[in-house]
């Protein structure tokens, strides 16, 4: 399950983001290095989701340069499709029958990985909140794109499931350009090559923090605990 395309970097260049009169970002420039996972932290409402939507080309003025997989803050499952069909949504929408057939096996495997093997025929409204989030995660991973954008992908999962799925994501997303919004500093430390704390308004990114060690990292690592404190302080608005 390696994509053939080499993952590109993501660039934000002098971006303006505004909703009506409310300016979220102004002249924002930022780079997300190719083939790496960048975790974004930031206070609620600072503009993380907006930035991600910008990167996905969903905001006015933004463009989507390369194929991406996008996992939004809400699960966005289609209620009329089974869980399996939801996971395969991208292939169904692109209408390539051969690709769809060949993807089905992977979709089932992914559902198995996220613990929904027995639920692939259920409708989304028969799932619990965490199950829905896992289905959305499986859909995003199934897309198999060089660039992956994820908005709080594990927010509704219990600690154990979260830990396992972090491993899964780290494995499947290796060598892709990933931008992941999270509220959990430990999650960022476990999964991010780079971690950036966003502040604002206007939206600004702190210096990238680059913990060492291969992904996924061990959260019990003492070095990480120090960074944890630093992240919290930065979040609190007191850069150390």
């Amino acid at each position: 399950m390696t994509s053939l395309v080499v993952a590109p970097p993501l660039l934000v260049c002098r971006a303006h983001i505004a909703y009506g009169d409310r300016r979220v970002a102004r002249d924002l420039s930022l780079e997300f290095p190719a083939g790496r996972t960048t975790c974004l932290l930031g206070r609620s409402g600072v503009g993380k989701t907006s930035l991600l939507r910008w990167l996905a080309g969903l905001l006015p003025g933004a463009t989507q340069a390369q194929p991406i997989a996008f996992m939004a803050q809400s699960d966005l499952l289609l209620p009329w499709l089974s869980v399996l069909d939801n996971v395969l949504l991208g292939y169904r929408l692109r209408g390539d029958a051969a690709a769809l057939r060949s993807a089905e096996g992977r979709a089932r495997a992914l559902l198995d990985d996220v613990g929904l093997a027995g639920r692939s025929g259920d409708r989304p409204d028969q799932l619990s909140g965490g199950m829905r989030q896992r289905a959305a995660l499986a859909r995003t991973l199934c897309e198999d794109r060089p660039v992956v954008l994820m908005d709080e992908p594990f927010a509704h999962l219990d600690a154990v499931t979260r830990f396992d799925l972090q491993d899964l994501a780290a494995r499947l997303l290796a060598d892709r350009t990933v931008v992941m919004v999270t509220h959990d500093p430990l999650e960022a430390l476990r999964l991010g090559h780079h971690i950036r704390v966003l502040s604002g308004p206007p939206l600004a990114a702190g210096e990238p923090i680059e913990p060492s060690g291969p992904l996924p990292r061990d959260p019990a690592d003492a070095a990480l605990l120090g960074l944890h404190a630093r992240l919290l302080a930065e979040l609190r608005g007191q850069p150390t």
């Binding site: 194929p67 966005l76 692109r94």
Partner: protein, 244 residues
């Protein structure tokens, strides 16, 4: 059992209305008289009802197909929206008396012109509600589909259309309810059979009870079609719980 209770209740209400307003039988015959005629002339009524039911059904199917197709065209193309939408709205303002000779000219006096007239009445609620539904799609879904490189066609057919099915169901219910009058109006184009024809005929001859018996049969046909459509509509959107 319950429909029976309802029917008896309605008949009592009707009788009460006759009694209260003092409407003479040649304007509003009492239900007892209408029932008698209904039973006496059942064979005639059923024969005419068959015609009207056929017009209703074909008109409804045609109206649903045409309405759905137009709504999709409106949702898909600004050109259709700009040029055809005013036409569609304006079409609802055309009385049968103005359009009947045209229909006859193009389609002749056969069933085709009647069905066309019926479909003209029936298709509009379908276009209107479905088009409304198609432009109300959850923005999140549309965004998701865009990130998946879906073309507008796929988005329309696989996201917007299923999401608009509850709206379509709503339109289909209205369409089913107006199908009887659509068929009767169709018969006005020039018919020699059907409940509408029978009604006009018997009203002209002063046989008001027979006219109302035909009306009762027409209403029953309408109710049956409405309930069948309602059931089908509920089945159309199983993911959406609907109260009674």
């Amino acid at each position: 059992m319950r429909p029976l209770v309802t029917a008896v209740g309605l008949l009592l209400g009707w009788e009460g209305l006759v009694w209260l307003t003092g409407a003479p039988p040649y304007i509003l015959p009492p239900p007892s008289r209408v029932l008698t005629v209904l039973i006496e002339r059942l064979d005639l009524l059923l024969a005419e009802a068959l015609w009207t039911a056929a017009e209703m059904l074909i008109g409804l199917l045609l109206g649903l197909a045409l309405g759905a197709a137009l709504a999709v065209a409106f949702a898909a193309s600004a050109g259709w929206r700009r040029w055809a939408l005013p036409l569609v709205v304006a079409s609802q303002a055309i009385p049968v008396i103005a359009i009947a000779p045209l229909l006859v000219l193009w389609l002749g006096y056969g069933m085709a012109s009647k069905v066309a007239m019926a479909a003209l009445v029936i298709f509009f609620p379908v276009v209107s509600t479905l088009y409304d539904g198609l432009r109300r799609t959850d923005q999140g879904w549309l965004d998701l589909a865009r990130t998946m490189d879906a073309n507008p066609r796929a988005i329309l057919l696989q996201i917007r259309l299923p999401a608009a099915l509850p709206a379509l169901a709503s339109g289909a219910r209205i369409a089913a309810a107006v199908a009887p009058i659509g068929a009767v109006i169709g018969e006005w184009v020039g018919a020699s059979a059907g409940l509408g024809y029978l009604m006009t005929l018997s009203l002209a001859r002063g046989q008001t009870p027979l006219a109302f018996a035909a009306l009762v049969v027409l209403c029953l046909l309408g109710l049956a079609l409405y309930h069948a459509t309602d059931r089908a509509a509920r089945r159309l959107v199983p993911w959406q719980s609907q109260g009674e």
